[in-house]
């Protein structure tokens, strides 16, 4: 990699985070919101690995490992909650989750 600098990876990581954030904000299907959250975490992972490689320091990569662990746990619990919610309210759209009123 001759002309690729950590800045390229940082800009890409930021764009991935932004796209994920956009998905979290504009989508109303909770499944897609969870997927967009995964995309945000992936953006952060790219930034961490790029810093880890550029700084010749393994700690960032190990941090990515832990982020993956937490993301897997988060997704499993989130999907279980979603299934439980679907059984109660027959919908997975955020506008139908208005138990506290409009």
């Amino acid at each position: 990699m001759n002309t690729i600098t950590p800045h390229h990876f940082l800009i890409l990581a930021f764009l991935l985070f932004g796209v994920g954030f956009l998905g979290v904000v504009i989508r109303r299907n909770v499944l897609l919101v969870l997927m967009s959250l995964e995309l945000m975490l992936n953006g952060i992972n790219v930034a961490l690995v790029a810093f880890s490689r550029a700084g010749a320091n393994l700690d960032g990569s190990i941090f990515v490992f832990f982020i993956m662990t937490v993301a897997a746990a988060e997704v499993s619990v989130g999907l279980a909650l979603l299934v439980a919610l679907y059984k109660k309210r027959k919908s997975i759209f955020t506008e139908d989750m208005n138990l506290l009123g409009n």
Binding site: F14, N42, V49, L58, L79, A84
Partner: protein, 199 residues
């Protein structure tokens, strides 16, 4: 522009395009498949950064396990494309999306200009700015030893295991406990909801 550079742009486009198509796709199943494309693109970027173990882990954990879980839930709940009542909260989410895109553009401009502007940094910490071709990625050393308190980057799994089991022993155990807690929580959640559904 040499081979690895082209590969970077290719995989960056793959991951970003997959992400964008995921966010804007109508059907949840196609969204999940675009997400897999994006995750594989990110895994390839990890390969470009010499983090081979993380790339394998990304494909195994994300594309293999997490997205299969997503597809399973999509097909279990049988959700179709979100069409009919899509325009209900359109205004609010439109404003929110506009604000988030504006924030994105501002921060991106900041990041992009920061790489051009070389007047502020001194000579020794100016590796990343100025002529971008001048940046030299550090050489990879195939050793697992720790440099003081920080671990040296290495693509080998051995270095990863050393770091995990020596320096990050307690976080590793906490992560394992977190996975156990998540598993128990998921079992209890699904049991409870079926019991309520039957009773």
């Amino acid at each position: 522009m040499s081979g690895p550079d082209l590969l970077f742009y290719f995989f960056a486009t793959l991951s970003l395009g997959g992400g964008l198509l995921m966010v804007f796709s109508r059907h949840p199943v196609s969204a999940a498949l675009f997400m897999i494309v994006s995750l594989v693109g990110v895994a390839s970027l990890f390969v470009l950064l010499d983090a081979f173990f993380l790339a394998i882990l990304q494909v195994l954990v994300y594309a293999g396990a997490v997205m299969v879980l997503f597809l399973f839930i999509i097909m279990l709940l049988d959700v179709g494309p979100s069409g009919a009542k899509a325009s209900k909260v359109k205004l609010l989410s439109g404003v929110a999306g506009l604000i988030s895109v504006g924030l994105l553009v501002v921060l991106l401009l900041d990041l992009g200009l920061g790489s051009m502007d070389c007047s502020e940094c001194s000579a020794e910490n100016c590796d990343a700015c100025g002529e971008s071709a001048a940046f030299a990625w550090p050489e990879i050393r195939d050793e697992t030893a720790a440099n003081g308190n920080s671990l040296i980057f290495s693509p080998s799994v051995k270095a990863f295991g050393f770091g995990l089991l020596a320096k990050y022993m307690l976080p590793l155990q906490v992560a394992g406990f977190l996975l156990l807690a998540a598993m128990v929580g998921v079992i209890i959640l699904s049991k409870k909801s079926t019991a309520e559904g039957e009773g």
